[in-house]
Symmetry: C2
Subunit: 320 residues, 2 copies
């Protein structure tokens, strides 16, 4: 990627940014080098994670949130992470449907992130795509995940404000939240609040949240009722997000999350460097022989790995 392309991305050019993102998703080395060049220009965007069970209306919610931030004069990037993609090739359709609504708006950039390869790779790609949107000058970057699982926890690690979306009917969602999500989400949204049981769900959730042992510098996460489909509750949600940002900034929480993010990213980069090193350095014949030994049960996996690792370390010994 040329220095020109970098300049274009910093100026907000969508085509150059999209090309770079594609490279990042594919794990392309040059793309990650370009990302390194962009990195000093990042750290300005405010990152919002939107997570929750499938069918909760997250995509619609994200769509109307885009509008709400735009009305407040902020530019918006969206990274939608789709866990079904390793098998289907990506949520390209969802992308297109949404693009139509915002495609004439220069202040909005939406991108689906396919979860090809390992989750580690996904997290790395997601962080990379957030950085590109940040470098493009987007004020807000929304990271949306589909499904419930480890990815939600990772998105929480990535985000400044983490929004968890549930629906009134999903009593199971409340069950599920008891164990972990209560601790990690900053704002709760009960979407489809026109459905029966919405206020009850809010009361239940509030009482669960009040049972948490709050640290002195923590705040009680608000619970917002929304009907994303007709925009109801979205202004309140937007207010709560911006209020949380103010809270983080005033309490030094933003810097803390920046540090967590940087630490997480450093760990990822180290592991990725070492994996590359393994790929380059491990002799294929040696590996094939060890695999055969494993199949024949002449050796055990850890012993085989040790053989490889000690070979690597010897290698780095003689090469320095």
């Amino acid at each position: 990627m040329t220095a020109d392309a970098v300049k274009r991305i910093l100026a907000g050019d969508v085509r150059s940014a999209a090309r770079l993102m594609r490279g990042i998703e594919n794990g392309d080395r040059v793309a990650f080098e370009t990302l390194e060049t962009l990195y000093p220009q990042t750290g300005k965007a405010y990152i919002i994670g939107v997570t929750g069970s499938p069918g909760g209306g997250k995509s619609t919610l994200v769509d109307v949130l885009i509008g709400a931030f735009r009305r407040r004069g902020m530019t918006v990037g969206v990274a939608a992470i789709d866990p079904t993609s390793p098998l289907t090739g990506g949520a390209i359709l969802g992308d297109r449907v949404r693009m139509q609504q915002h495609c004439t708006d220069q202040g909005v950039f939406i991108r689906s992130v396919a979860t090809r390869g390992w989750l580690g790779g996904l997290a790395r790609a997601a962080i990379g795509i957030v950085h590109v949107m940040d470098a493009m000058g987007k004020d807000i970057v929304l990271v949306e995940t589909v499904g419930i699982g480890q990815q939600e926890v990772d998105v929480t690690r990535l985000a400044d404000t983490s929004v968890f979306v549930l629906t009134p009917g999903s009593g199971d969602a409340i069950q599920m939240m008891k164990a972990g999500i209560l601790e990690v989400a900053d704002i709760f949204v009960i979407n489809k609040a026109d459905q029966e049981g919405a206020s009850r769900a809010k009361v239940d959730l509030k009482s669960m949240l009040s049972m948490k042992n709050n640290l002195p510098d923590e705040r009680q996460p608000p619970v917002v009722l929304t009907e994303a489909i007709n925009g109801r509750g979205i202004e309140e949600l937007t207010d709560e997000i911006l209020k949380h940002r103010k809270f983080l900034v005033s309490q030094g929480g933003w810097q803390k999350r920046e540090r967590q993010r940087a630490s997480h990213e450093l760990t990822e980069a180290i592991e990725s460097s070492l994996k590359d090193y393994i790929k380059l350095s491990v002799n294929q014949t040696t590996k094939d022989k060890l695999v055969e030994d494993l199949v024949q049960r002449r050796i055990s996996p850890q012993a085989a790995a040790s053989a490889i690792v000690s070979q690597l370390l010897r290698q780095c010994d003689t090469s320095v």
Copy 2:
């Protein structure tokens, strides 16, 4: 873990096996050492993966499959992988419910695997638990996953026979399969076949499968209609699984899958060794300083990682 415990596991003792599995799930070093000791006694079990969308009745199907294999005189282990667990703490309830049905049967062992930590860790734990069941002398090990995503692909890598479960109503499932699952599943099950559209779904699926470009040594994956809830179609499914086993053994496919599995496991073990090495070797002060440099944008992630990695390599240089 004592040599006695190892002996007890090899004799099929459930308590010792459960304790070892708990250790494996927690990433306990001693547990993995015990696993190394057991490894030479593994490689005898036949591994069956059962995957598909949530709500397809997989758990019920697995339950009746257990019965079917038991009637044919085979012992059965089940590893049920639950992706919701990082947030909820595990599918212990599901475990218990099932245990009741088979708890008086010494030939059956069921275990839920919580997806704590990274997916890489999960895959490692899942393989480990399969090895323990194998070492216990189970003839069949069923690996069940909930949800659709990367885990399904990984289970396929782990299994000898990969069964994909869908339901007649889920037209989306067929959409999803077009891109990837057709290529990786060995047997398709249309469960809840009493629902409308079951035969139509079978015809559609068959026609999609016939459009695949089959390699000369490949076979057309069968499509089996089942009603797991009342046991209908289960004998046919069991026949198809055993037929696939025969096919694999006669074509050398079993050995090929053993090699893939071993290669995958070796890669995992190498990465895990290197991660341990990073944890032990990276100086926390150095890391903290680099994180601060990242936050201040004085350095970029890859450059920071390189600084650490070169430090690691220097370290191994002087330590040898």
